[in-house]
């Protein structure tokens, strides 16, 4: 199978502020391959290095050592991001623009022709149910609407790989269901989805494979059904077990 995301021996260090302190290792020797058409869950407790890894994939942070490629192209090359869509955890967009203007702007960045842009904007706004609010400035949107416009912008270039950082964070149950439906629809179209989430029930439902990161290191990687069968429990319990969670004695 073709590796859409290919991470080899990735190490990311952050310099610490105070004198005498060594660098903080955010990601340590990570090896990961995500194949075409997979829905891949990237899990780990807070501070495990998930966002840092995503930041490397998106070119925001440079790797200290190792390599990361998207579609076989090193992530340092802007062209590597031509076929990806990204939804950040906290959605902040140009609030003075309307949803339609925002999508038009991003479409122009991708060099999508005008007629195609019009068509995609109509489709995406329908998909995320923002047709009625398309002419309203984003600053007047609720949090859920902003998350949905974020999802629409992530899909404007009809990406082959979608990177979602906590896509259901802050959404109500209907919003979560909608995101899940969209992920399933993309999977059915053969797209690859790489997403981080703390909603393990949701991950178990939609993901083919997962990787669990702990203190910058990969501790578990495998198919969801195989992990559940191996540990004979649900994904949440698998997660707690591999990160060494000990329940407090009451």
């Amino acid at each position: 199978m073709t590796a859409i995301v290919d991470i080899k021996d990735l190490r990311v260090e952050y310099r610490k502020g105070a004198l005498g302190q060594g660098p903080k290792v955010a990601v340590d020797g990570l090896n990961l391959r995500v194949h075409q058409g997979e829905v891949f869950g990237f899990l780990g407790p807070n501070g495990a290095g998930k966002t840092t890894t995503m930041n490397v994939l998106l070119g925001f942070v440079n790797a200290t050592s190792g390599t990361a490629c998207l579609f076989g192209v090193n992530v340092n090359e802007p062209i590597a991001r031509q076929r990806i869509g990204y939804l950040p955890e906290l959605t902040y967009y140009y609030k003075f623009l309307t949803a339609e203007e925002l999508l038009r702007f991003y479409a122009r960045v991708f060099g999508i022709p005008r007629a195609e842009t019009d068509k995609r904007i109509d489709e995406l706004l329908k998909l995320v149910e923002l047709q009625d609010a398309r002419k309203r400035p984003i600053k007047s949107y609720s949090k859920g609407m902003q998350q949905r416009v974020g999802l629409a912008q992530a899909l404007i270039n009809d990406p082959d790989l979608l990177i979602l950082d906590e896509p259901t964070s802050g959404l109500d149950p209907i919003g979560r269901m909608k995101v899940r439906e969209i992920i399933q629809r993309l999977k059915n179209k053969g797209k690859t989805v790489f997403f981080s989430s703390h909603e393990l029930g949701e991950v178990e439902t939609v993901c083919d494979r997962v990787a669990i990161l702990h203190q910058g290191k990969l501790v578990v990687e495998g198919r969801v059904d195989e992990l559940v069968a191996k540990y004979q429990t649900n994904l949440e319990q698998v997660f707690l077990k591999v990160v060494g969670y000990q329940p407090a004695q009451v």
Binding site: V61, E89, V109
Partner: protein
Amino acid sequence: MNTVLALSQVVIKELYRRKDFYVLFVLTALITLVMGSANFFNDDKIVRYLKELCLLLIWISALFIAVGASARQIPAERENRTIFPLLAKPVTRGQVVAGKFLGCWLACGIALLMFYGFLGAVSISREHEWLVLNYFQALWLQWIFLAIVIALVLWGSIVFTAPSSNATICVVLVIGIWGLGRYLNHVALQEREPLRSVIYTIYFLIPHLEWFDVRDKVMIHGRGLVPWVDCFLATLYGAAYTLLFLFATWLGFRRKALNT
């Protein structure tokens, strides 16, 4: 180029939606009042004096629009985190810098067109003549002046953390260079070494913004034009400093960590 243009369009939209451009209308109203009052005196000297006042207002307003708009561009992208979805697309940091610059510069160009257009219209009604080429030269050179200022402020926005401190420092610096830069060589002559060499070095390093201020020559006192060759050379000089500051901005921005 398409990306740079798209980015510049967003900058222009932001400026007029944030109501910054409405400063224009206040200023225009002020100019109308000032020029209109020339009727009461019916005196050529007073008309010239009022024109001088109007042009000074145009220069100050344009400077503040340019500094205010460009100082917040990159910090706002980082603070509002809009930089993340943007850079997750095939957009380089160099394109971000170029787009921000172009947007601010075009917006200032539109502002200048409005200012000079209005001034010209009022002048026609009072003096019954409109020296189109004079207006063009004054506007063009001021626009080049603003290109240097915008590039300088964008660079400052990478160096300084707060947009307000960047804006204040840049305004002081620009006004200082504009007003005093031309005298630095005279000051150097009165000093001893090594201070003399230091002042001379500064004199030759700073962009001589006063060269772009041709209000007196082409708009107020004289009526002659600046030789077109000089105008062209000044444009090249301005473009060189603009590119230099934009390059410094890009160098700083490409190293800047973008932590989510």
